[in-house]
Symmetry: C2
C-alpha cells in the first residue's frame, strides 16, 4: 500500500527550521518510503534542505509567513489556523493531503487546533497527549495525559485508558496491556472522587482489551509492572517532568562523584562503555514524540527543546503510527466496546457505567 | 533551657516497634539532652529497649493496646484518638507533656488527629506536610504539601508559601528564601485558576520574608534554583514519588550497566568511593521526616517503610525543630505579616489580597 505523507511544522520548536529539517532527514533514513510536506518560511526551509539532498527530493514545501509563538493563548492561535505553519500542517491532515503532522510548537495551541480541525473520534470527548517512557521491564510504558487537559473527570480518564491500551497494544504487542490509574496511594479510598469513580467503573467493566490493575503510585511508573499509566494532564505533566529532572539530577551527581578524585576518574574511564549505555538510555531525545490520541488523524508533538535526533524520533513515532494505522485501530477498539452498549451514542464510559450497574 | 520531651508512636510504620525504638535510640546519640515518651504495647517496647540501655534510661512508656491501621479512614481513626498509640502520642503534645510527636503510621489519620488535637495556628486554614529534598545547590529544598491536602485553593497555597518560607529560613539560614509554585509551565497563563490566583497575589504582596519567583516546573525542583516549592498535596505527592522512583530507576540501570562486563565491573570497583557517595546522597532514609506545618505543636511523619536510620532522621528533624522553636517562629512570621493587615482576623492571604488591590 502507498503510505501517506507526513506534514512537518518546520517553524515550531526552540531552534526552528534547521533542527526540524535535519530531524526529518534523519528519520527518513529509517523510513525511506515516506514523503514530506514541509510547512513554513520557504527561503529558510530551502536553505536548510541544502545539507540534505535526499530529503529535498522527498519533500514539497508549503510556504507561510506566520508562526504560533510558545506563549500564545490557544484561543488566539485558533484564529490564525489558516496562516500559521502549525495550522497549515494540521490542515494538510484534515484535507487528506497528509496522514500525519509533527510540530515542536506550543502544546496547548497544537491540541486546540488539532481538535478543531481533525475532530475527536466518536466516543471520545477530549484527545490526550501520550508518551513513551523507559522501564526496567521488557517494554516502554505509555503514559497519558501528559499535559493536554489540566482538569479531567472520571469519564475522560476512562476514555484515556481505552486509548492508551490501544496505543500500548501496538508498542508492546500484548493483547491485554496492564493499565493503572496514577494516584497518591493504592488503597481504594485514596485520591479524588474522579479517580475513585474511574477505578470502580474500569474494575467492573467486562470485555475491555486491557487488564485493569487499579491504582499506581508515581514511584512505580518505571518498574516494568505496568504498560499504561493513566492520569489527568496536570499530574501527568508533573510526573513526567519530575522523572526527567530526577534522572538528570542523579546523572549530574554521578558526574560530580566520578570527577571528585583521581581514583574515581580512572574508574570512570575504565567503565565508560557502561556509563555511555546509561546516558543513551536516559537521553530524553530517545523518547521524544508525544501522540495526541483520540483524533481523526495522527498528530505528534515533538519537545520544544529536542535536538535533531529528538525530532527524528518524533517523526519515527509518526511513521510507526501510520504504518500501524493507529486511528483505525482505536476506532475498532471503541467499536468493539461499543457493541455491548445500551446507548452507543454516549461513548464507552456510559457502556461501562451500564455494565457496572 | 530545658528541652521538651519527644513522643514516639512506637506502633506506626511497616516494621513497627523494633525499628521505631532503634531509630529513636540512634537519634538520641546526636541529641543526648532529649527524653522520650514511647507510646504503644508495653511488653513489646520493653523487649525492644533491651538492646538500647541508654534509650531505656531516657524513656518513659505509655501503654496502649490499639493501633491505627495503614488503610484506616481518618474519620474512624479520629474516634479512636484516646485509645491508639498515634492518638495518645499526639495527645501528649496537646497536654504539654511532650513538645513533639513522631509517627510512621497512616498519613491521613495523623493529619486529621493532629489538626483536631493541636488545632491550626491563627491565620492557617490547613496544616501542610513539608519535606526536604537534596539539590545540586548549597542547601536542601523544602517542598509542601506532600500529600496532606488533595485539593487546595489559592488561599491554602499562599499560607503554604508563608509556612514553607519559615521552615526554609531555619534550614537554609537565608533571610528571604526563594519560593516558587509548582506548575506545568512558567508562563502566567499556565495551570489552574487557583495557581494563577496565588501567583498574582504573592507577586503583588510586599513585606513577606521571602523572594517569590513565580512558577517552577517539576524538572527544576532539584537544580538548586529555589528554596521552597509550594504545591497542592496531590501534585506534591506525585512529584515526590516520581523523583524518588526515577532516582531509583537510574541507580538500578547503573547497577545493571556496571555488572554487564568484566571491564565495567573493574571500573565499578575502582570508582566505588564515588558510587557509595551517590548511594548515600540518594538514600531516602537520609531525607526521612516530613513536618506538618501550621499546627500548635511539632508533628513529624516518618515514612512507613523507613529503616532505623530513616526513623532516626525523622526524630532528628523533630529535635531540630524543637531546638529552633519552629512553632513560635511561624507565629512570629504570621504576626509580622498580619501587622500590615486591614483585617487581621482573616489571615495573611486576606492581607495580601488587600495589598494587591
Amino acid at each position: 500500500m502507498s503510505l501517506p505523507r507526513i506534514a512537518i511544522d518546520a517553524m515550531g520548536g526552540d531552534e526552528g527550521v534547521r533542527v526540524m529539517v535535519e530531524g526529518a532527514a534523519l528519520a527518513r533514513r529509517r523510513h525511506d518510503k515516506f514523503r514530506f510536506l514541509l510547512v513554513g518560511d520557504e527561503p529558510r526551509i530551502k536553505a536548510a534542505l541544502e545539507a540534505h539532498p535526499n530529503m529535498r527530493s522527498a519533500s514539497e514545501i508549503l510556504h507561510c509567513d506566520e508562526v504560533v509563538s510558545g506563549d500564545e493563548k490557544p484561543s488566539r492561535a485558533l484564529r490564525r489556523a489558516k496562516t500559521t505553519s502549525m495550522g497549515l500542517a494540521i490542515n494538510a491532515v484534515k484535507t487528506g493531503d497528509c496522514g500525519a503532522a509533527v510540530s515542536g510548537g506550543n502544546t496547548g495551541a497544537l491540541m486546540a487546533m488539532g481538535k478543531l480541525a481533525l475532530r475527536t473520534m466518536p466516543g471520545i470527548d477530549r484527545p490526550a497527549l501520550a508518551g513513551l517512557m523507559p522501564t526496567l521491564g521488557e517494554n516502554d510504558v505509555v503514559m497519558l495525559d501528559l499535559g493536554a487537559n489540566t482538569d479531567c473527570d472520571a469519564e475522560n480518564l476512562i476514555q484515556f485508558a481505552v486509548m492508551g491500551a490501544a496505543y500500548a497494544r501496538i508498542v508492546t504487542g500484548k493483547a491485554a496491556p496492564r493499565v493503572r490509574l496514577l494516584n497518591i496511594g493504592t488503597e481504594s479510598i485514596k485520591g479524588t472522587d474522579d479517580l475513585r469513580g474511574a477505578s470502580q467503573r474500569l474494575a467492573a467493566a467486562t470485555g475491555l482489551a486491557m487488564q485493569f490493575d487499579g491504582f499506581i503510585e508515581a514511584d512505580k511508573i518505571n518498574r516494568g509492572e505496568v504498560d499504561v499509566v493513566v492520569t489527568d494532564g496536570f499530574s501527568g505533566n508533573i510526573a513526567l517532568k519530575a522523572i526527567e529532572g530526577s534522572a538528570r539530577f542523579v546523572t549530574d551527581l554521578l558526574k560530580t562523584a566520578f570527577t571528585s578524585s583521581l581514583r574515581s576518574k580512572v574508574g570512570f574511564l575504565v567503565s565508560r562503555p557502561a556509563t555511555e549505555l546509561l546516558r543513551h538510555h536516559l537521553d530524553p531525545n530517545n523518547h521524544n514524540g508525544g501522540v495526541f490520541l483520540g483524533l481523526n488523524g495522527v498528530l505528534v508533538k515533538s519537545h520544544g527543546s529536542a535536538n535533531a535526533k529528538g525530532v527524528s524520533n518524533a517523526v519515527h513515532v509518526c511513521a510507526r503510527l501510520l504504518e500501524d494505522d493507529i486511528t483505525r485501530r482505536i476506532a475498532a477498539d471503541l467499536a468493539e466496546i461499543g457493541a455491548g452498549m445500551d446507548a452507543p451514542a454516549q461513548g464507552p464510559a456510559a457502556a461501562i457505567e451500564a455494565e457496572a450497574k
